[in-house]
């Protein structure tokens, strides 16, 4: 592995090693560019991952204190855990379920297609599906997405069997085992899925794509990656001309270092990325870096989610096998006759007993609750993932008084459901109930959203610098050598799980950065 000098101002510094940052770092290294990759977490491996929900949570999750506000139930149930994302090499690609869906054409131009939605800060992406398609294809190939590139689908587990039978009986037609970045056959030096059932806890055979054991080792093999773990980015600094000069970070012992850089790419997920830009405020940029639009931290989106669990007369054992084992796509289109704009996917999901106790009905107790848990082997489960409306008031902001161990303000995450989000969730709960009742459910439970796994929109792309933070390449409108490389770039959230789009954007951004560097324009 390479080791670059702190004063080497020819390197690209990428902050965050997840889907966006890990992919970008590798793509740049493959093109001959030297990269310093700062990762706040430690490095785990398929050997150190554990098939244990809580133990794994404490191994992988981002647990630094955050606060919440707003009317979302997460603020009440998990006031200091707005998001369930990771602080570890590979970021949340260690934890994700693997669903890899392309956005639909109209989802890149929702302001145009959906029209005026009161209270929503909708905006068209400065990018079309057509422009992104070649990069989607590259991302799918890189990640080994099933049902693309002649890769067979995964076998459905028991949870899928219930889901599929219910879906068909309820009249749905778009139900299958999904497009998953989980090997259904050995591929790319990684084995195939063993149906372990702990996708969320880090895949212990490496069948699920994660930058931890794909992009990052590939980048290391080039000799051009300097990965620094437990390196917590504190501030991005700039010179008098307004160009960024490097990143101040703290190492695992708390010692601070300043790494000089030719280019800085921020990929810390949609809470820490805007936080870092806001915490980098200076005399020249008093509102934070790249924030002339005032949109840094705004338009926080988390997908309209919720779960539906049901109990059947016969055992299901939903936890056996792939956590996200299948999808119903019929509701993903834009059909305003349903009473809302945008669409949603239904995807199977399961939780082990410890997390089921924590998430089935947070705060609940007593016999009514324990009776539900006693039915655990008879449960099947699904998750709703739908497009939520960007709202300027849904925002990541700096806490006015609480500071982290480095003395920097911690982030507060404010979220209120938009009426469209509520209408969509209610529709999806009804749809989920219909599916499970068609499959013979005795009881169906609507389960509130978990802490957010899809965090989006807080440094959004816009054609006009007035409306957003970055341009169509993820380059900040205000600062030519500062990029955003994660889901915070998303102009709108679409109905699909975001990782494939984050990876596609990172591959595309790497092409752009390499091209501009070669031309001496950055």
């Amino acid at each position: 592995m390479a080791k670059f000098d702190l004063n080497d101002d020819g390197v690209v510094v990428v902050i965050g090693s997840g889907a966006g940052g890990g992919t970008l770092a590798n793509e740049l290294c493959q093109k001959g560019i030297r990269v310093v990759l700062l990762e706040a977490g430690k490095r785990q491996s398929i050997e150190t991952f554990v098939n244990d929900e809580w133990e794994s949570f404490f191994q992988l999750a981002w647990l630094d204190k955050r606060t919440t506000s707003g009317s979302w139930r997460v603020a009440r149930d998990f006031p200091n855990l707005p998001a369930w994302i990771c602080k570890t090499v590979g970021g949340t690609t260690t934890h994700w379920a693997g669903a890899s869906l392309r956005f639909q054409e109209h989802e890149f131009r929702t302001a145009t297609v959906y029209g005026e939605v009161p209270g929503a800060n909708l905006l068209d992406w400065p990018l079309t599906l057509e422009e992104l398609e070649p990069y989607y294809a590259k991302a799918e190939d890189k990640m080994g997405v099933t049902r693309t590139h002649d890769i067979p689908g995964l076998p459905g587990n028991n949870n899928f069997k219930v889901f599929y039978n219910g879906a068909i009986r309820a009249g749905y037609r778009g139900c299958h085992t999904g497009r998953m970045a989980i090997n259904s056959r050995p591929r790319d030096g990684r084995t195939s899925c063993q149906q372990i059932g702990f996708c969320f806890q880090g895949c212990k055979v490496g069948a699920k794509w994660s930058t931890l054991y794909t992009e990052i080792p590939a980048a290391e093999a080039t000799g051009r990656l300097d990965l620094r773990t437990e390196a917590f980015a504190l501030q991005i600094q700039h010179d008098d001309s307004g160009k960024v000069t490097g990143v101040l970070y703290a190492d695992g012992e708390g010692n601070q270092h300043f790494q000089r850089a030719r280019i800085v790419c921020v990929a810390c997920n949609a809470i820490e990325s805007p936080r870092l830009l806001l915490n980098s405020a200076s005399a020249k940029f008093p509102d934070g870096l790249a924030n002339s639009s005032g949109q840094v931290g705004r338009n926080y989106m988390r997908h309209t989610t919720g779960s539906v669990y049901a109990v059947f007369p016969e055992p299901v054992h939903m936890y056996r096998g792939t956590t996200m084992a299948g999808i119903i796509t019929d509701e993903s289109g834009h059909d305003p006759t349903r009473g809302f704009v945008g669409g949603y996917e239904l995807e199977t999901l399961s939780l082990g007993l410890p997390f089921m106790a924590a998430f089935l009905d947070p705060g609940a107790w007593g016999r009514a609750f324990t009776r539900k848990l006693d039915l655990y082997p008879y449960m099947a489960g699904m998750w709703i993932v739908g497009e939520d409306m960007p709202q300027e008031s849904n925002a990541v902001t700096l806490h006015p008084s609480e500071k982290d161990r480095f003395g920097l303000p911690i982030p507060n995450v404010h979220f209120d459901d938009h009426p469209n989000d509520i209408a969509m969730r209610e529709h999806a709960y009804r749809a989920g109930r219909k599916v499970y009742e068609a499959a013979g459910a005795i009881e169906v439970w609507e389960v509130p959203p978990y802490p957010s796994t899809h965090n989006l929109g807080t440094n959004r792309m816009s054609a006009n610098p007035r409306d957003g933070v970055v341009d169509k390449w993820g380059r900040t409108h205000d600062i030519a050598n500062l990029f955003v490389s994660d889901g915070s770039q998303f102009t709108t959230g679409a109905a699909e799980n975001p990782t494939l789009t984050i990876v596609a954007l990172a591959i595309r951004q790497a092409d752009y950065i390499a091209d501009r560097m070669a031309k001496g324009e950055i």
Binding site: V50, S184, K204, R320, G321, P354, W365, L373, G440
Partner: protein, 185 residues
Amino acid sequence: MPKYVLDRRRFLRRSGQAVLAVSAAGRVMFFDPDRSWAITLEVFDERIARTLLAMTRTLYPHPSLGDEYYAVVVEALDAEAKKDGATATLLAEGVAKLDQALAVPFTELSEGTRTEVLESMEGDPFFQKVRGAVVFHFYNNKLVWRHFGYEGSSFEYGGYIRRGFQDLGWLPDPPPEVSPPPYLG
């Protein structure tokens, strides 16, 4: 050093049966006459331990699971109270409040009445502390998982690819185009 030891045998299955004694090392022991299990306590006295045990059972009742599984939660709370004085105070004061709710101690109340007392305290940080501890420590006990039919870690057994991930027989199998056969190498 441990102050109390709870004996692990049907401990407090009916509350009020535990016995308090002083050990040879000068520590106080706390055990059920049957002595089949024990937990180590360093902060709580008998009344606190007994009351918290009754509270955990009332919060998350699973009648077929013995007290020893709930005692794990009490043990964890005791360990936390040892580390953090504020937690120790919160729990001691909370227990006092439970006992003062009615004319008889909390452990002497029926389950229905205990539930009513707890309902009246739902907003209390003490209540939330104990409730959260049960959710975390009780349901995270591998011995408890068997009761719920949850099999836990599967990697060491090769996952479920050959162990029933699609053994559900009471619904038709989906067609191979939506659910291809597994790759078995």
